[in-house]
C-alpha cells in the first residue's frame, strides 16, 4: 500500500495547495495526511479507491487543523460557507453565463485567482471532480450525499464561471 499511496502525493499536494492557499501549509497538510493514513492503514478496505481514501483524510485533516483559522482573512475564501452564499442562487445560474469567447481566452492566473475566491467546499468538489473521482467518491470525501455533490458541483462551477465573467469586465 505504501508505494501506491505515495504515488498520489502530487494530487494530494495540489488539493492541499488550493485549500490552504500557501506552500508551507500545503506541505504540512500533506505530511500530516500521510502520517494519519499510516496510523489508520488497517482501516483501509483493500479493493476500494485508495486515492479517494487519502483525499478524505486530507480534507478531514484540513478541517481539524485549519478550522480555527477560518476567520483568518489571509486564508482566501475559507469563511464563505457554500456556493449558494456566493451569489449563485438557483435562478441566477440559469441566466447570464460567461461568454464562450471570453472563457476561451481565460489565462492560468485568472483561473487560479477565480478558484481561490470560492468557498473551500466549492474548490474541493471542483478539484476532486477534475481528479477523476466519481460523484460517489467525492461524496465520501466531503461527507455528504451524492445528490448534494451533484448540485454543489454544478453551483461551484457556475460560481467559477461568474467570477471569470467578472474578470472579463
Amino acid at each position: 500500500m505504501a508505494n501506491e499511496a505515495l504515488a498520489y502525493v502530487d494530487a494530494l499536494h495540489n488539493l492541499a495547495r488550493y485549500l490552504t492557499g500557501n506552500e508551507t501549509d500545503a506541505e504540512d497538510l500533506v505530511q500530516e495526511t500521510y502520517a494519519r493514513a499510516l496510523r489508520a492503514e488497517h482501516q483501509f478496505t483493500p479493493g476500494t479507491n485508495l486515492k479517494a481514501w487519502l483525499f478524505r483524510i486530507l480534507r478531514n485533516t484540513f478541517l481539524s487543523l485549519y478550522r480555527r483559522q477560518r476567520h483568518n482573512p489571509t486564508v482566501g475564501g475559507l469563511d464563505t460557507v457554500d456556493a449558494d452564499a456566493q451569489g449563485v442562487a438557483t435562478e441566477s445560474w440559469l441566466l447570464g453565463d460567461i461568454d464562450l469567447d471570453r472563457l476561451r481566452k481565460v489565462v492560468a492566473e485568472e483561473l487560479e485567482a477565480a478558484l481561490m475566491t470560492l468557498s473551500e467546499d466549492a474548490r474541493a468538489v471542483i478539484l476532486l471532480d477534475l481528479e477523476g473521482l466519481t460523484e460517489g467518491e467525492v461524496a465520501e470525501v466531503v461527507g455528504c450525499a451524492v445528490g448534494t455533490v451533484k448540485s454543489r458541483l454544478a453551483r461551484a462551477r457556475a460560481a467559477l464561471r461568474q467570477k471569470l465573467k467578472d474578470y472579463g469586465r
Binding site: 505515495l6 506541505e27 483561473l111
Partner: protein, 265 residues
C-alpha cells in the same frame, strides 16, 4: 425535464454517467432548448480550460523524499515479528535446515536473484528520472516535434531509438537527452502531463533480466507496471529495444501514454 434539472445533470451527461433513458431525455432537451445547449457547450469549455490551464502544484522532491523515508517500505516486517524474532528465529532456522532440501534452496536463490534484478531495473529507471529532474539542463534538445528530437540522437547512440509516439495535446513531447540505463547508453524522451514531467528511456534490451510475471497487456505489448518511491514505472520490450516509462503522474494516465506508445490507441 426542466432547465434546472438539465443543468444539474449536464456534467453526468457529458461524462456518460446517466442511464440510457435519461441520456436520451437530456439529448432531446438540449435539441429543444437553445439556452441549455449553450450551457452544455460552456460546461465542456470550462472542463477543457480547467484541465489544460489551471496551474498544478505538484509536491516538491524534498517532500516526496521525506514521505518516502517516513513510510515503511512495502513488505516491511510486522511489529509482532520484530518482537518475537530473537526467541523464535534460532528454532525456525534449525527447522528450515531440516526441512528444506538443496534443490529448493537453489530455486529460491535463483528466484530471489531474478526478483532483485527486476527491482534493480525499476530502481534504475526511477533514479534516471530523478537525475533528469534535478539536472540544471535536463534537455539536450528542446522539442520541435519528434522529427527534430529523434534525428538528434543519430551518432550519439549505438542504436536507433524507435519511438512511435510524437506527443499530442494531452502528452506533449518536450525534448530529449542522452542518459544511461545500467551499463548502457539510453535515449531519454521527455513528455509532460500538465506540469508533470514523464521520462521515456529507450535502450538496448539484450543482457537484461526482464520481468516475466505479473505482466499487464498495454497496447500490443506485455508490460510490467509498478510503483517505486512514489513514482509509477512501466517496463516493456519491443524487438531489440527496452523501454522504461517513469513519472509521478497517476498510474492510469501513465498507462494511457504507454498505450499510445505501444499502439494501443
Amino acid at each position: 425535464m426542466n432547465c434546472e434539472d438539465a443543468r444539474i445533470q449536464l456534467l453526468d451527461y457529458q461524462r456518460g454517467r446517466l442511464p440510457l433513458p435519461a441520456q436520451r431525455e437530456m439529448r432531446a432537451h438540449l435539441d429543444a432548448c437553445s439556452d441549455c445547449a449553450r450551457a452544455d457547450t460552456v460546461e465542456q469549455e470550462l472542463t477543457s480550460v480547467l484541465e489544460h490551464r489551471l496551474p498544478q502544484h505538484p509536491a516538491s522532491l524534498a517532500l516526496k523524499r521525506r514521505l518516502a523515508a517516513q513510510w515503511p517500505a512495502a513488505g516491511a516486517e510486522p511489529a509482532w515479528w520484530s518482537r518475537w524474532r530473537p526467541r523464535l528465529a534460532p528454532a525456525l532456522a534449525v527447522a528450515a535446515l531440516v526441512l528444506v532440501a538443496t534443490p529448493v534452496l537453489y530455486y529460491e536463490r535463483a528466484a530471489s536473484r531474478l526478483a532483485s534484478e527486476r527491482a534493480g531495473m525499476v530502481g534504475e529507471a526511477v533514479n534516471d528520472h530523478l537525475r533528469l529532474l534535478s539536472s540544471q539542463h535536463p534537455l539536450d534538445v528542446e522539442s520541435g516535434g519528434l522529427h527534430q528530437v529523434k534525428p538528434w540522437f543519430a551518432g550519439r547512440l549505438d542504436f536507433a531509438p524507435a519511438v512511435p509516439f510524437e506527443g499530442d495535446a494531452d502528452f506533449p513531447l518536450k525534448g530529449g537527452a542522452i542518459g544511461y540505463f545500467r551499463d548502457r547508453k539510453a535515449a531519454v524522451f521527455v513528455y509532460a502531463r500538465r506540469l508533470h514531467p514523464i521520462s521515456l528511456l529507450v535502450f538496448r534490451a539484450d543482457g537484461l533480466v526482464w520481468p516475466a510475471h505479473d505482466l499487464t497487456r498495454i497496447g500490443s505489448v506485455d508490460a510490467y507496471a509498478t510503483t517505486e518511491r512514489g513514482f509509477n514505472v512501466i517496463l516493456w520490450r519491443g524487438r531489440e529495444l527496452g523501454y522504461a516509462l517513469v513519472s509521478d503522474v497517476d498510474a492510469r494516465e501513465l498507462k494511457q501514454l504507454a498505450a499510445k506508445m505501444t499502439g494501443g490507441t
